[in-house]
Amino acid sequence: MPTLIKDGQVIENTWVLIGKESDLSSVLSHASEQVLVPLSLWQEHKSDLQASEKAIGVWLDSDDDTYELGSDALELPLIALNFPVFMDGRSYSSAAILRQRIGYKGELRAVGEILRDQLFYMKKCGINSFEISDSVKLEDALAAFSDFSNNYQSTIEDPLPLFRRR
C-alpha cells in the first residue's frame, strides 16, 4: 500500500483512483464514497458526476491539457496529477498552471512513479500531497521536502524570487 503524505503529515488515503477505461456506471456504483475520475470521464459526464452523492475528484494524466479542466477545478475537493514515469516532467507545469492560472486552492496530489528526489521540486510547484510507494523510506521522503534551504526562482510556494528577498 502506498503511503500518503499531505502537508508533511502521513495520513490515510480514503480516495480511490479509477482508470481511463472505466465508465460512468462503474464510478456511480463504486463502493468508495470518494472517487478520482480521469479528465475525459469528467468532461463527458460532468453533470451526472456533480449530481452524485459521492465526492468526485479529477486526475490528470501528464498529457492532459490542464487548461481544459479550467474553472471546473475550483469546485473540486481533490485533483491528482499523474507522473507515469518519473522522467516525464509535464505534471510539474500542470501543477503550476492549476495553482497560478486557474487559482485552485484545494488538495493537489502527485500519483504515479514518484521518487524521493523529486518531492522538493513537486512541492515548490504547488503539489501538497504525495502518494509514495513502499520502495521509498518514509523518513527519507519526509526529509526530502527540505533538501534545499532556498530557491532562486519565483515558485508557486514562494512567489518572491530570491532577488526580492536577498
Binding site: F86, M87, G89, Y92, Q118, K124, F148, Y152, P161, R166
Partner: protein, 552 residues
Amino acid sequence: MYIYDSYDKQMLQDRITQYRDQTKRFLAGELSNEQFLPLRLQNGLYIQRLAPMLRVAIPYGCLSSNQLRKLASIARDYDKGYAHFSTRQNIQYNWPILEQTPDLLAELAEVEMHAIQTSGNCIRNTTTDQFAGVAVGEIEDSRPWCEIIRQWSTFHPEFAYLPRKFKIAVCGTPNDQAATQVHDIGLYIKKNKDGEVGFQVLVGGGLGRTPVIGAEICEFLPWQHLLTYLDAIMRVYNRFGRRDNKYKARIKILVKAIGADAFREKVEAEWQHDKEGPATLSQEEVDRCKSFFTDPDYQTLDDSDSEINAQLEKDLLFSHWMERNVVAHKKPGYRIVTLCLKETGVAPGDASDRQMEFVADLAEKYSFSEVRVTHEQNLVLTDVRLQDLYVLYQGCKQEALATPYVGLINDIVCCPGGDFCSLANAKSIPIAESIQRRFEDFDIQKNIGDLTLNISGCMNACGHHHVGNIGILGVDKKGSEFYQVTLGGSADRDAAIGKVLGPSFAQAEMPDVIEKIINVYLEKRQDSESFIATYNRIGIEPYKEKVYADAD
C-alpha cells in the same frame, strides 16, 4: 566575477549533501541504475566507454585564477593529470571514480564551482562570447545577464525533467562568438532608440541530428521581462515538446512542427499572466549583478609600444602569434590574448594540470586574475597590457601554449570522439591530428587564412561540425569508421548549416580530402576573399568535382 553570497553557498552545499546521499543510496542498491541515471546526469556524471566522465560548469566561460588552480589540482588528484575544455564552456574529467565524485564536488564548491545541470534533460550552463566586457564596439556586457539566467535556471523546480536538454546562449558583442543562433534559446542583446536594453529572442536553434538556425519570436524583449518570458518559453516546451522519441524531443522539432508564429502565440499567451509578476526583474537586481562585472583598475596607457614593435621586427614567430592570437581591447594599451589549446599531437581542448596552473599564474600576473574559456576550446586572457605581451608570449612558448593558430585551419574544434565517448560512431582526435600534421607549416595556414574546421564523432555534434566552414562527422558504415564532410557552415551572426559534400571517406583519406578542398579554394579565391566567402560565391560543385574526380 560573480561572488557567491551565503544563499548561493548554502544551496550549493545542499546540492552536495543531496548528491552524496544519492550516490550512497545507489551504491547500497536502493536506487536502480535507471533511477540514478538522471540524478547523476544533473550532477554532470556520465558513464563513458572507459570510466565515468564528470563535466564541470564554467558559467558563461569565466574563471578566476584560484578556480583554475583548483581545476588543475582536481585533474592531478582525481584524474590522470589533464582535463578537456569542451565546446560549451565546460571542463570534463575523463577518469574520476564514482565513489569519489561527492568529494570532488565538495572540493569544487570550495571555489564556488559545481557540475550542476551540466548534463541531463534540464537547462544547461548558459554560454556567451568569451570577449564579453572587453570587446571593441560591444553593445552591452552579457555576463550580468548570464548570471541572472544562471540563478533562474539553477534548480528550477518546474523544468528539471524536460523532454530533452536545453541550452541558452547570450551575446552582446558585434561578432557573435557564442554560436547564439544554434541554441535552444539564443538571446542577442540590443538597445532601442532610447538606449534601453532588451533582447532579440531566437528559439529552436540547434545542431545534432537535425541542425536548425533559431527562429526569432521576439524582436525586442525589454530586460525587465527576461525571466518571465523565459519561463513562458520553457513552460510551452515542457508541456508540448515530444517525449516519445528522444531524437525528436528538442525544442527545435516543436518549433518546426507548429511553426514559429504558433509557437510565439503560445508563449505570449502564457507570458501575459506573468508579465508583471514577481519574477519581473528589478533595477536593483540588475545593478547588483552588474556590480560584479565592473571594469578592473585599468591604467591609462598609450596604444603602441616601441619595445613590442622592435620584437615584432626581430621575432617572426612572435609576430605570427600577435597577428593570430591577439586582438584589440576596448581600452588603449590593452589586448585580448587567446592561448591556443591546439598543439599538434594533443587532443584539441585538452590541458594538463601544469598548463592550467601556468595559465592561472599568468592571469594573476598579467590579467587581473581572470581567465575565459571559449567554445572553440581555447583559453583567453582578457586584459593584458600591450607592454607585457612579449614576456607573456615567451612564457607560453615554454608551456606549449603559444601555438599561433587562432582562427586558422589547425585551430580545430573537436569532440573527444570514439577514444572516450560511448555515444561516438568514430574517433575524432586522430582525424584532427592528421589534418594538423598536413597543414603544420604556418605559412601554408596563414595563406589559407580565416577558416573554421569542426569535427564531431557522431550525430550529437558536440564538435559543432554543422557550423564549421569545413565540418567533419564520424559515421558508422558497416562497422567501420567513416567521415562525412560538410562545407559552408558558419556559427557567427551570419549563421549557416553546412552542406554535405558527398559520400563519406575512410580515415586515411581525410588529410588528402581536406587538402583538395583547400586547393579548390586557393585556386578560385579572388583577392583576399576568405574560405567561406569563396564558398558562398562559387557553391559546393567545384569542391565536389575536385574531391571525387579520382573516384569516377
